[in-house]
């Protein structure tokens, strides 16, 4: 499903943010990515979305080599990837409903489907009542859940979630992680970047630990390993 071959990404001269990482994730896997602040987790996620280009190395997703992908094929690729950004990136001038619906409109779903799927997904993340609010009228945790709903609404093949519970209370965090697990069980490949030690240790999934741009540990049914 996801293959990285000696991938590096350097923003500037010096120590690269991602340093010759090789990695394989199978279809249907659930992977936690953990690591210190600044160890390159978000950079990795951005590489997988083709938001960033690697400095060197090859990234292959679903048999498609991202490095050489034609510009006009990128949108199609991204539609198959659900993404939760660390900084949410909601559309400021649209309300919750429209933010989530946007992901569906992009693909061209008929409004009949949108009208059903969007409220459904909002209910899933516990925001059914806030559908009319603008992002700035939401609490931090609520914004984060909108971002999650947007990533889930299309039932993507791959879900990349960068710190999806950073602004959520433990109860909410657990529910969300449970939700991701369910989605994973239905076939979606899930990569979750998180700092939540408790959750990582509870869910017993594959854990990739990053340190200064390299993979320090990679364990099935792993535990959160501190630096």
């Amino acid at each position: 499903m996801i293959d990285l071959d000696r991938v590096s990404k350097a923003y500037a001269k010096g120590q690269p943010a991602v340093d010759e990482i090789s990695l394989h994730v199978d279809k249907g896997e659930f992977v936690f990515i953990v690591g210190d602040s600044g160890s390159g987790k978000s950079t990795l996620i951005k590489l997988l979305l083709k938001e960033l280009e690697p400095t060197s190395g090859t990234i292959t997703v679903n048999g498609q080599v991202l490095n050489t992908m034609k510009r006009r094929r990128i949108p199609k690729y991204r539609r198959g990837v659900g993404i939760v950004f660390q900084d949410f990136r909601l559309l400021k001038d649209r309300n919750v409903y429209e933010n989530v619906a946007f992901a569906q409109r992009v693909i061209g779903y008929p409004s009949r489907v949108i009208k059903k799927r969007v409220p459904e997904t909002l209910r899933l993340v516990g925001l059914a009542e806030k559908y009319k609010s603008l992002p700035k009228q939401l609490s931090g945790g609520e914004q984060q859940r909108v971002a999650l709903a947007r990533a889930l609404v299309n039932r993507p093949e791959i879900l990349l979630a960068d710190e999806p519970t950073g602004n959520l209370d433990p109860g909410n965090s657990y529910d969300i992680m449970k939700l991701l697990e369910e989605i994973n069980e239905r076939g979606t490949t899930v990569l979750v970047v998180t700092h939540n030690k408790e959750l990582v240790n509870t869910f017993k999934k594959r854990v990739i630990t990053m340190r200064r741009g390299v993979i320090a540990h990679d364990e099935e049914e792993g535990e959160y390993i501190e630096a």
């Binding site: 006009r72 949108p75 991204r78 909601l90 946007f102 992901a103 992009v106």
Partner: protein
């Protein structure tokens, strides 16, 4: 908020454009009018017969470049001269001449051409006609007017062009700020999997709407103000009524409205396409 600013800028620029367009057109038409008032005078040989004079007149009238031919008898010539030269205070002078018209021999045709540039050619032609003693033409007046005409043409084109360039510059400037404010929105859309087309669509529509509204407001305003302004000037400055003859509203707006709309929509469209494109590379 930002669309509003774009519309306002668009409206202001097209307003200026329309204003100067009308001004320049009227101005050109005034000069054109003055130009048409400059004719040549054709004098005949002494003791020529009236039949011969008529023949010459017909020959001149037959030329395509001739607009008008007017016969001036010797008496008319003298009367005209007196009023031209001494105003209406010529009584004292008249005594000196009494029945002795100094211009007795000076019946003439006054010939006016459509286009001052054709005058020289016409003069050479008339000179070949039998029975023509002399042709007087005001070289200086003709040349001056023709030059003024060219100069005004140049200045008019220059002004309109400058306004056009400045307008386009200002509007695309505003549109580009307005869109770059949405830069992050555009990049989010693209990262969610929107195609360029999908992102661009609403912006292009917006550009067109901005163009239409931004053009319609000033054009509508000018349309209603134009006649009022003309009437106002003609009544307030009634002395000028004889030689200022405003270009009819229909004639100006027949051109100004489509040009204004095309300009507005075109700039709105091109402005948004170009600026969105800049932010699409995500």
């Amino acid at each position: 908020m930002f669309s509003l600013a774009s519309i306002a800028t668009m409206a202001a620029c097209i307003f200026l454009f329309g204003l100067f367009f009308s001004l320049v057109w009227n101005f050109t038409s005034i000069v054109k009018g003055a130009e048409e008032g400059v004719g040549v005078t054709v004098f005949f040989e002494a003791d020529i017969e009236q039949a011969k004079i008529d023949e010459i007149g017909d020959a001149i009238k037959a030329r395509p470049e001739v607009k008008e031919v007017k016969f001036v008898s010797a008496d008319e010539a003298w009367d005209e001269f007196k009023s031209d030269y001494f105003g209406n205070k010529a009584e004292g002078l008249e005594e000196g001449f009494k029945d002795d018209n100094p211009l007795a021999n000076s019946a003439s045709y006054e010939v006016y051409v459509n286009n001052i540039e054709d005058q020289a050619g016409l003069v050479s032609y008339i000179e070949t006609l039998d029975g023509v003693r002399d042709i007087s033409k005001s070289d200086v007046a003709a040349k001056t007017l023709s030059t003024v005409n060219t100069l005004i043409g140049y200045v008019a084109v220059a002004i309109i062009l400058i306004l056009l360039v400045v307008s386009i510059f200002l509007i695309s400037n505003t549109v580009s700020i307005a869109i770059s404010v949405r830069k992050s929105e555009i990049s989010i859309m693209k990262l969610i999997g929107a195609t360029d087309l999908f992102v661009r669509g609403p912006f292009i529509l917006e550009g067109v709407i901005i163009g239409i509204i931004g053009a319609a407001i000033p054009l509508g305003g000018l349309f209603f103000v134009y006649e009022k302004a003309c009437t106002y000037i003609l009544t307030k400055f009634s002395v000028l009524a004889s030689f200022i003859n405003p270009v009819p509203r229909g004639q100006i707006f027949e051109i100004l409205i489509p040009v204004g709309l095309v300009l507005g929509v075109g700039i709105g469209l091109v402005g948004s396409i170009i600026t969105v494109r800049k932010h699409l590379r995500v």
